[in-house]
Symmetry: C2
Amino acid sequence: MGSKKRYTIHDLARELNTTPSTVSRALQDNPRISVKMRKTVKDLADKLNYQPDFKALSLRKGSGRTIGVLIPQVDRHFFATVLSGIDEVATAANYNVLICQSMESVEKENALIRSLISGKVDGLIASISIGTKDAASFKMFLEKGIPLVFFDRVIEDLRVSKVLIDDYMGAVLAVEQLINRGSKHIAHFAGPQHINIYQNRTRGYIDTLKNHSLPIDEEIIFYNVITRETGCQAMNKIIEMRNRPDAIFSSGDYSALGAMICARESGLEVPGDIAVTGFANEPFGTLIDPALTSLDQHGLEMGRQAADLLIEEIEHTGPNFVPRTVVLNPELHIRKSSR
Amino acid sequence: MGSKKRYTIHDLARELNTTPSTVSRALQDNPRISVKMRKTVKDLADKLNYQPDFKALSLRKGSGRTIGVLIPQVDRHFFATVLSGIDEVATAANYNVLICQSMESVEKENALIRSLISGKVDGLIASISIGTKDAASFKMFLEKGIPLVFFDRVIEDLRVSKVLIDDYMGAVLAVEQLINRGSKHIAHFAGPQHINIYQNRTRGYIDTLKNHSLPIDEEIIFYNVITRETGCQAMNKIIEMRNRPDAIFSSGDYSALGAMICARESGLEVPGDIAVTGFANEPFGTLIDPALTSLDQHGLEMGRQAADLLIEEIEHTGPNFVPRTVVLNPELHIRKSSR
DNA sequence: CCTGGATGCGCAAACGATTGCACAAAAATA
DNA sequence: TATTTTTGTGCAATCGTTTGCGCATCCAGG
């Protein structure tokens, strides 16, 4: 029953008493093959449901039309969204998408990169793991001549295209809104400072305070606070303070959430006693009460742009390729938590 | 600068004044090659950072060690979680993961399947789109002899392995909990009934009412209510009723959420006036107030099991292969919304 | 009738690896 | 010393396509 077997171009040729080359050309509508022959071949191909073998094609053409996506974890909303954007563009351009999760582990990340340089992919879109501090693996990858595009979490000094959001600007927007609403003593949850995005958010926070002649108080800057747990811990410290901050600008939504939950448990009101602004605009932000003010990163758009850049580089990469950096503007969604 | 070029086995052979075959064997530790030669070859390979070409290897071996994952949308938490589970197992077994999103479109789904039968993947894990009603594409796929495993949303009468959760049982658990807490007039948000999972949830709801001698009232069964919007609309109808239900069992968390939000807007209290139970255990369920009672589907585990089944089938598929169905037990997380 | 250019198709090399087989040289046996 | 066995390599086919080139056949122009 059924055509269990996969047909090759040789099978078709034998069937038609011709040669593989003719079949191949006929299927490609090569004008050097007679119209009649082309039709004959195509009819048979249709009938047998012939499809050229992907692996053979890849070898011959030197490309499997595949792009890799290396991200920390696919089941985190932001990354899933970016991936979706990448997939949208890639599929439209007839590329396949290979997915690789580093699980925030540098070792896994390195192993994945190593496995990719064997020519599995025509290009790679990556966002580095939280622990990644040296660029050796990525350099090696680049040396093989495979295009690479970073998004969000990038290695600054690598000569590749990047898609970022303006984290600095985001921080400025957020902190200014807090200042505008009357907050004068604004705490900050900072992320690991060796990662570009967190560093920029912190810089934006500090500069904005300065610009508004507000003092910088290291006491109320909490480092490495990006999870719900650490956010809660930080909030507990804040609650103890004699000169308690009246607002928090958090580098992440999860730590903002943790803070809000712990605040409520201690009877502190958001935004009445303390306003809170997050970063990432996770979907849960609109569902909690009070809804969380946050900065949207346009994940879908980031993915699309990254894929555009990469495909452009794959297909039109000249000898004098110049990497580009696309910077997206974050969007501040002001909600109840900072009103 | 740098080794921009990718080396082949021929390059190594030339460098060492030997032949590709010897190099190949040496790299594989073939005992027919002298220990000395093996070392020489490996040293050079290391030095040049040689990696066998993936495409050539795939063609020769007849497999690219790649599995495809076809899902409606990667940026939905459940699917992202399953994907993560699949990736975990696949990576451990040295498989690549190719991702395909149908975006709930039957046409896209069919196009993707067509593109996959060219031998891109050694097997496919799929969850069908909401509109998929006929199995033609999947049958065609199977006829090419490529293993297929369904999860969650499956086509019942296809002879393939499946990983499911016991949706019927989940509904029973949920409805019984509502009954136990004293609810007597339980409404139901049903999903599209041509999808196995929604049908089973509805069946569980009906049977449980019957088993407890509660009347089935078609008036309070709302079909195709799985989004936030439709959940809200349904709730608005419920609010108008003279004989208002005192609980809702929803086939999805989003419609449950929509209902809760609209209930609050109308001054109806959850769970005081009406209890709500969802399905999926989306992460936001614990963040909203009241927290949402829901059924966890063990997405990660589903992904792992699906990948296990598929890889097993790929590698040990005998002539007398018998598809297996793994059924996972959903877990009811009782939270404030149904207390 | 002869020459020259289309026209239509086949041969064989290539992509980069693996592998069955053959074949030297060295070692072991007679 | 002659013969067999072992040891180490090389040749060439193969996986399924694509494609440069060559070679017939045919038709038209001179």
